[in-house]
Symmetry: C2
Subunit: 719 residues, 2 copies
């Protein structure tokens, strides 16, 4: 058995179980977690010891002593309808008093906002006041208008620690409820640096400082029943403070309004078309975070240790695909792996020496219990992540949680050992070479572009949402396909056109979101650039409601390119004719029946007979269209399934003008293939939990037959 | 057997078959059709003879002699994307050259419009011209912008005659293709009057002049394959001519733009929120049509005959629920009955002495053929129409088509005789008295209000559309429920509030349509009026996407009243909690499982725990909510089924604060009951094609049990 590339959790009291597990999985590193301590002999167990480090909440004495330097957040009250000219709004109604407290120390007239949501007008501060009981009294209201209060609040509890605390029932253990403090305050910042310096000196046994994470937690707010109320893994609303807002005003020449963050209750989620002020705020915070992270990393390096960032929790402002990240000096990033897309989100991060993925399931009692299925979850996690690994492997994997729990599930441990072995084999066989990739580059086009590489359609990290899985499926499919994938913003296309080297532009999502694009499609710079580019030979793939923005008689602004448009109930007077052809077409050649379209677009119709409708059920499911020298493919929805991944694979090839299946083609969509020509080998993997066989066409035209057990894989040498 | 109240078709050569059918159905009137002649002895067959009369196409010699007085139409070309600074658009591409011809006799620079659809800008006439081959050459175009030509065209063929001609293969029969001419031309108008006068004098055998219809055909345009391309039963785009447009400009002080009619390709359909210019055009044409109809009716009356209007074909401008109609002097209206809603559309028309419904199926070879099921269609038509008849009966019924065809289907004739008998029984038993009605008045709220009473959600007359049946179902249900129904416009509510006497306001439809309302929901006058009214005790029923207009953080602007809102992908960061209760509630008491929601709204969620979610499947299907002293009910969709009609019935009662089932309640939603207290009788009808039984609660609390065969009915006397 081989060793290395695997990190396991350990803790005081679980030393022997750790040693057993280390041996079983060939681990070479251990780590502690939030709430657990490294055993004294950790450094003797493995080559490397990771220690969790909390920059912004590690010192609760500091937090207690500096209540004016705690982290803040902008929150929005419930909407209250006025029934008379006076009304009272309780800002905290629905919020969790243990997590947040309204900031009345800074003048609410300056920092809060009362808005008439029926007109959108801001109510002048003379017409409202915070009363002694904390409610807001509005006078001169217009009856039957809705009002809200946007208020600045202090964060009394770090959301992740709160989540862990409540979920693991730490009540009564005497543990502190940890309050986050803000690095914007020079005094706090100095304390952060000196604390780290002190800690580094005191922990010679630690090789890797695992920052969990830096300064600003993503938006995670609980309600008055201590349940999740707001969650946005990309949320910046919890990164505010009066000092930061003042600094922003000084730097940008205008003050951010509370509304620029709470955004009418959408809380500036990444699904919203980002406003100019919100973009400015992102850039502002990213510059600050980068500067401070560089300083902390320098401290770590000065102590002879490695700096690792956890991609989660207080990661806001770091933006691994942003302009500053590669220059931070970080040695590594570790993150949770929930799918192929989240694997690529980690493994593709530039500017670090290595990446690490924490596989599911965590060794937590919700899964590691009688009747739980840790083996099943581990297999699903591995087949999903493995598709991405074949394109761009993580450098390391690992697990989290309590070692003692895992020890009770030997079949899981056997499988985890097999995964570790398979992971190391991948590295051994590929030997650092790149897999063969079809000469097709796909650019995923949305408002975020490169900044949110592999991070589209995500609300809470890797969680399933009814409204997003249909589009996440496209990203999930791409994450394991042998094509180049890049992410492109509308702004780039509008200023510089589609970049050289891109063969296919993909626009997917629900109408009005930042991913589909919303009103940016009213900008002729965008539509003309794309029309010209496709007409000259480019490929366009649209999924769901691409280019959707009702205007000028069209729902899809690129309907002329796509050959389809959407009936939203206004053009019913125009007869729609569809002549679906279910005969052979390159795009649907592997799709025997109807595609799974999930919660995709409804009421899409072909704009004319030039559109080839390949799948239809009272609305278009799959269609293709020629446009000058270019081509488009429309898909109503694409939840991830192996068949849908194949459908997208073929759509991308066809749109790029590649109408023959390339080498390393598997005739079974459930079997993914990766070839490493420079290493002289290739591998076939079964991306399902049922046995599969496939015929794989090699570059010389020979056909190899592979038979794989559930989740199985097989390597072969090149002839 | 009784006699009367029934009209049958007859024609030369089918005299004996007519006499047989007249006897069998107890008919008292006969009629001819488009393309058939009355037999010489028609007047001896029955009490009344109807003759079809075509005001605007009856004299093709006149049409041929006055090509400059033909009816015109505004059409929109295909959208053409410019690939260079010059482009050519063929206005007629996709149109049927036998139906329409571009009008180049009137200066296109004045009457046509070239529009850059990518910017919405009108291209100045200096930059385009109509070439010798009829195409439009545009110069100075912006590459990759889309362009259209809106053009005025001559109508060369009346659409109904064209449809009949093509469908019945009149090619080679020597029949003329009839061209419509425009009453706006004084010369043509004089000719219309004198022609009618002459015709009236020449036809003493005719008792009823059946106008089919007056001047302007609804929009019905064919494509270059002679298939339907555009259809709008309410369309006014074919009511234009240069003379009419000039008159409009003189009267209204501004010129109508071509775009005011073609409306970016939506052709100002009733689903579009009507613009001010389009409303002006409607009012303008309605005034004109009313004035001219009054004159024609006077001629008919002067000749001692009755004037009957066919509600269809050239009915545009008559607007039976408009302000002029009741004063036209018409004796009767006849129309096709395809459902309960279309029955009420006819039977509720004010200001005529009697109404007549033409039942389905027509005696046409598409149904009356070996393998056809005329009996099945007749039963379905009757059970649907009968629900409405019980609320407000038509005065007469009848059939259309070829008598000789029907004679070959004796089981159909038996059933038709039974229908005629049942229809007469309804009149005999009810004796002209009104049915008992619950003290609940429902107002259907949309942009059209009373003008389009029972005419909402309709594209082509009574045709099924995937995007509308879910909302038509609510109208269909209401048409047979024992509640008062009225139609109300947003403008009325904004200016005068909800009228006295209204208990429940119903807003239904897809977002952005004239029925849901679109951006009118941004007007605080509307939202505040409705909030105040519901809060004071009113009831609101929302179906699908009521009050939908994305603004200020809400999708449904009345979310505070409805207790539900719609997730359109922008507020995913906010956790949605739904605690559906499937236990007893008045609204869902007769709904055992999930409701049929058709193509209703997706992703609707409760706004808070105050909302009672009664049916839920990852999204709200049925919910109720209290609002001050008032109540609301939300339904995701309501295609017509007996269970859904019951659901709406209960929703309306509950919203109105009536939480006990009223008298004449049937415990089986498939059995409808009508009571006629003033006539001392009641009837139970089976509105399905399967046997049904029901327990009906009488006003004294006694329960009567009825058992009914398929489509059956049973009368009983009041005790």
């Amino acid at each position: 058995m081989s060793r290395g590339r695997v990190t396991l959790p350990t803790e005081v009291g679980a030393e022997q179980a750790s040693l057993d597990l280390i041996a079983r999985l060939g681990a070479d590193a251990v780590r502690n977690s939030d709430g657990t301590e490294l055993p004294a002999g950790a450094a003797d167990m493995v080559e490397k010891v990771y220690a969790t480090y909390f920059v912004a909440r590690g010192d609760q004495e500091w937090a207690q002593a500096h209540p004016d330097q705690l982290q803040q957040i902008y929150l929005l009250s419930e909407r209250v309808t006025a029934t008379a000219e006076e009304l009272t709004i309780d800002p905290m109604a629905g919020y969790f008093a243990e997590q947040v407290r309204p900031d009345v120390e800074h003048d609410p007239a300056e920092w809060w906002e009362v808005i008439d949501r029926t007109t959108g007008a801001v109510v002048p501060p003379e017409r409202w006041a915070v009363t002694a009981d904390g409610t807001v009294r509005v006078t001169g209201a217009t009856p039957w208008h809705e009002y809200t209060v946007t208020f600045l609040a202090w964060q009394l509890w770090d959301p992740t620690q709160m989540y862990n605390y409540l979920t693991n029932h730490w009540q009564g253990t005497g543990r502190a409820k940890e309050m986050p403090y803000d690095a914007r305050h020079p005094e706090t910042w100095d304390h952060m640096v000196t604390s780290l310096r002190t800690w580094l000196a005191a922990h010679p046994e630690v090789d890797v400082v695992r920052f969990t994470t830096f300064f600003y937690h993503f938006t995670l707010v609980f309600n008055d029943r201590a349940e999740e109320k707001l969650v946005d893994w990309f949320g910046y609303t919890a990164s505010v403070s009066t000092i930061a807002l003042d600094a922003f005003a000084a730097e940008h020449g205008y003050r951010l309004r509370p509304e620029d963050l709470v955004d009418a209750g959408y809380h500036s989620s990444p699904f919203r078309v980002p406003s100019k002020p919100f973009r400015d705020w992102l850039a502002f915070q990213q510059r600050f975070v980068a500067e401070k992270v560089r300083a902390l990393v320098a401290e770590v390096h000065a102590a002879g240790k490695e700096a690792m960032m956890f991609l989660g929790d207080n990661w806001i402002g770091t933006e691994p695909y942003g302009e500053h990240f590669a220059g931070l000096g970080l040695d590594a990033v570790v993150g949770s792996v929930g799918s192929a897309a989240t694997t690529r989100m980690i493994s593709d991060i530039p500017g670090v020496r290595y990446t690490e993925g924490r596989l599911l399931p965590y060794f937590f009692p919700d899964v590691f219990r009688p009747g739980g299925d840790p083996l099943g979850e581990a297999r699903q996690c591995w087949v999903d992540a493995r598709r991405a690994m074949l394109r761009k492997p993580l450098d390391r994997i690992g697990y989290g949680g309590y070692v003692s729990l895992a020890a009770r599930f030997p079949d899981f441990l056997d499988y985890a050992a097999q995964v570790a072995e398979e992971f190391r084999t991948l590295h051994d066989r590929a030997a650092g070479t790149a897999p063969w990739t079809a000469p097709v580059r796909v650019a995923v086009l949305n408002h975020w572009g490169r900044l949110r590489t592999w991070q589209t359609f995500m609300v809470a990290h890797a969680m399933h949402y009814k409204q997003t899985y249909t589009y996440l499926g496209a990203i999930e499919a791409l994450a394991g396909l042998p094509v180049d994938v890049t992410f492109l913003s509308f702004a780039e296309v509008m200023t510089a056109g589609v970049p050289d080297g891109v063969d296919v532009v993909l626009n997917a999502g629900a109408a009005g979101t930042a991913f589909s694009g919303g009103e940016v499609w009213a900008d002729p710079r965008l539509t003309t650039a794309l029309r010209a580019w496709v007409h000259a030979g480019g490929g366009l793939v649209g999924i769901g409601e691409p280019s959707a923005h009702l205007r000028g008689g069209r729902t899809f602004q690129l309907a002329d390119v796509l050959g389809v448009d959407q009936e939203v109930g206004l053009s019913l007077s125009t007869d729609k004719y569809a002549e679906p052809r279910h005969d052979d077409h390159f795009v649907t050649a592997d799709l025997p029946g109807a595609p799974a379209t999930g919660e995709g677009a409804r009421n899409v119709y072909p704009t004319g007979p030039a559109t080839q409708v390949l799948r239809y059920d009272a609305e278009v499911q799959v269609a293709t269209h020629g446009y000058g020298a270019g081509r488009s493919v429309y898909l109503a929805g694409l939840p991830y399934t192996p068949d849908n991944a194949r459908l997208l694979h073929r759509a991308v090839l066809w749109a790029a003008g590649h109408e023959r299946t390339p080498a390393w083609w598997s005739d079974n969509p459930a079997v993914d293939v990766a070839a490493f020509p420079d290493a002289g080998c290739w591998v076939a993997v079964n991306s399902t939990l049922e046995p599969q066989s496939a015929r794989v066409t090699l570059p010389d035209g020979e056909v190899a037959t592979v038979a794989l057990g559930a989740a199985g894989s097989a390597w072969a040498d090149l002839g």
